[in-house]
């Protein structure tokens, strides 16, 4: 079931930066073959921020990995910036990634940043790969630092010498320094405390002004509600609901979306929510 609602974006004739149509992904072979994504269709307009929400095992990370070419789709199409990438081989993917059109940020920057590479080298690398000169890369890295609120003193540090929040800002900077058209962020703020979380969200909100499209993946509707234009809810491998953020929160259609909204910790929690959650859980598990 898919309850599509009119997108919040104005109907412009622009080409979507990402278009996923009837995407299916299976894991395992023969008798152990298991469907992880079932006919997922989603289109992301340039400059748009979309939150993909789902629980553990819902397929949200698989969707991200399929879009990045890390997992092969068994059916459907993925079009990135006008290019059908579904049939791309290793070398074509490398060429696409090298252009820096699509970038990604993962939850744990300690694992995605090379522990032996300084912040400066880490940030310059994607530019050098693109063929930018060393001098220009260094200048662009320095110019970008301000936008992610990192001080130039940190350039000589290793990831291990940074705080968690600084590290995640480095990861965000590295993804955005090439001015990509699409950035996929998989649980980018889940491991951060309040002050850092707010700071990262604020930075991302500002960076959107450059026209970059963001895909935010999270289990928590609350952590993306403040930045996402649209919310897509993934449940058991299917996109069960897509709509403008305010609509999804205020009039959730699918029982799972309703449970998500009622489960997100808010300052307005009411005793009645508990009974409603109970009823929704019973409904979903039936």
């Amino acid at each position: 079931m898919s309850t599509d609602r009119p997108a919040s974006q104005p109907a412009e004739p622009t080409q979507p930066v990402l278009n996923v149509a009837d995407l299916e992904v299976h894991y395992g072979h023969r008798r152990r073959r298991r469907q992880v994504l079932n006919r997922v269709s989603l289109s992301i307009a340039p400059g748009e921020t979309v939150g993909i929400i789902g629980e553990t095992g819902s397929g949200k990370s698989t969707l991200a990995r399929a879009v990045l070419g890390l997992v092969r789709a068994s059916a459907g199409s993925i079009v990135i910036d006008g290019e059908e990438v579904g049939s791309y081989g290793h070398r074509q993917w490398r060429a696409l990634r090298r252009r820096g059109v699509i970038q990604y940020v993962f939850q744990d920057p300690l694992r995605s940043l090379d522990p032996d590479v300084t912040v400066e080298a880490s940030l310059a690398e994607p530019l050098l790969i693109q063929g930018v000169s060393r001098q220009e890369a260094a200048a662009r890295v320095r110019a970008f630092l301000d936008r992610v609120r990192l001080s130039p003193e940190l350039l000589d540090r290793l990831p291990g010498e940074l705080s968690g929040g600084q590290r995640q800002r480095v990861a965000v900077a590295r993804a955005l320094v090439t001015e990509p058209r699409l950035v996929i962020l998989d649980e980018p703020v889940s491991a951060l405390d309040s002050a850092n979380r707010v700071q990262i969200l604020q930075i991302l909100k500002e960076l959107r002004a450059d026209g970059v499209a963001l895909v935010f993946i999270s289990h928590d509707l609350g952590s993306v509600a403040g930045v996402a234009d649209r919310i897509a809810v993934l449940y058991q491998g299917e996109l069960v609901e897509v709509g403008a953020t305010g609509d999804v929160i205020n009039q959730p259609q699918h029982p799972y979306t309703r449970l998500l909204v009622r489960s997100a910790p808010t300052l307005h929690s009411a005793a009645a929510d508990r009974a409603e959650r109970e009823a929704l859980r019973a409904l979903l598990h039936a």
Partner: protein, 338 residues
């Protein structure tokens, strides 16, 4: 006097979802009633707790003896049966050290250097390790963030709960097994018999946390400390665990200390909130007052996070006044301050 697990068990056997009127004896017993408000507008009202505190923490100070500096600079709160206190703060704020001091499990070279803690009227400062062993589990118990690391992966989870019952309540094997299954039922696990015979790797994070809660309440403690117990879980599962804790509190008069970095998690369940930062309690008060009228900039930041970036941005604005400061300025100010 009915023990906690008996109360849990009889209630769950009765399969009653809401507080029944016939539980007068237990209400007297715990000294606190809970009015399950269905309107949602009013906060649960409790009678002015006549009972004596089960836990009182008075101006507790904790120092790192190796570094020679004080880490926690005085925390105060008291907890009566059926009530709950929430401690909110970022990592390194001293919230976990405070809990560990209460449980007598401070890490090496950390010591309580001031103040006092009383559990059920008993000062814990001079307790021998045998006395601590008697107290832990039976009077005060805890669950932590990563449930899998507190269970032995090579022993069936049910046997690990039965172990508590054998040691703490002196039950025989068969009776321990029966009660362990009842406890798994009481924490709303769907197939208690099956879960009893499963290993940790066969269970999800939410199920493991339920197993740990079952083990934690097996010996009928009066106080349960939940230190970031829902942090690693999906929001929907987090809500399930919080609902379970609320349920246990209402049904059995269990007193809760809930520790979280998320103010909203604490607000959902707690009567009183302590906001900690760098070992200092920067704000403390009844939950609704802290939410409505935050005094400290750090509390305002915690609220702004939800109002500007969370669901609260879209939900009704009747309950909480908007934070006056811009979240980012506050974030920067808080950071610079650090």
């Amino acid at each position: 006097m009915a023990t906690l697990s008996e109360k849990v068990l009889t209630k769950s056997a009765r399969n009653s979802k809401t507080e029944q009127n016939g539980s007068g004896a237990e209400v007297e017993d715990t000294g606190a009633t809970s009015t399950t408000s269905t309107t949602g507008a009013t906060r649960p009202v409790r009678p002015a707790a006549p009972s004596t505190p089960v836990l009182s923490v008075r101006d507790i100070r904790i120092s790192d003896q190796a570094a020679g500096q004080e880490i926690v600079h005085g925390v105060n709160f008291t907890l009566t049966p059926g009530r709950s206190v929430g401690i909110v703060g970022e990592s390194g704020s001293g919230k976990t050290l405070t809990c560990r001091a209460t449980l007598g499990i401070l890490p090496a070279h950390f010591e309580v250097t001031g103040g006092s803690i009383e559990i059920d009227g008993q000062d814990i400062s001079g307790l021998s390790s045998a006395q601590w062993t008697a107290l832990r589990g039976a009077t005060i118990s805890a669950v932590f963030q990563d449930p899998a690391s507190y269970l032995n992966p090579s022993i069936r989870v049910g046997a690990q709960i039965a172990e508590v019952l054998k040691v703490k309540k002196g039950l025989k094997r068969r009776e321990a097994r029966r009660q362990a299954i009842d406890l798994l039922h009481a924490v709303h696990l769907r197939d208690p018999e099956l879960v009893y015979s499963q290993y940790t790797y066969e269970l999800s994070g939410g199920m493991l946390q339920r197993v740990l809660i079952a083990a934690a309440i097996a010996a009928d403690p009066r106080i349960l400390i939940a230190d970031e117990a829902t942090t690693a879980l999906d929001v929907t599962v987090q809500a399930e665990i919080l609902d379970l804790l609320a349920d246990l509190r209402e049904r059995t008069g269990l007193a809760l200390v809930l520790v979280s970095h998320d103010l909203a998690v604490v607000a959902q369940l707690c009567d009183e909130v302590l906001v900690m930062r760098q070992g200092e309690v920067v704000e403390q008060g009844p939950t609704h007052e802290v939410l409505h009228n935050p005094q400290h900039e750090y509390t305002r930041l915690l609220i702004a996070e939800h109002e500007q970036y969370g669901l609260d941005k879209f939900l009704g604005t009747d309950a909480v006044e908007p934070a006056k400061t811009d979240a980012l300025d506050t974030a920067d100010a808080v950071k610079e301050d650090a």
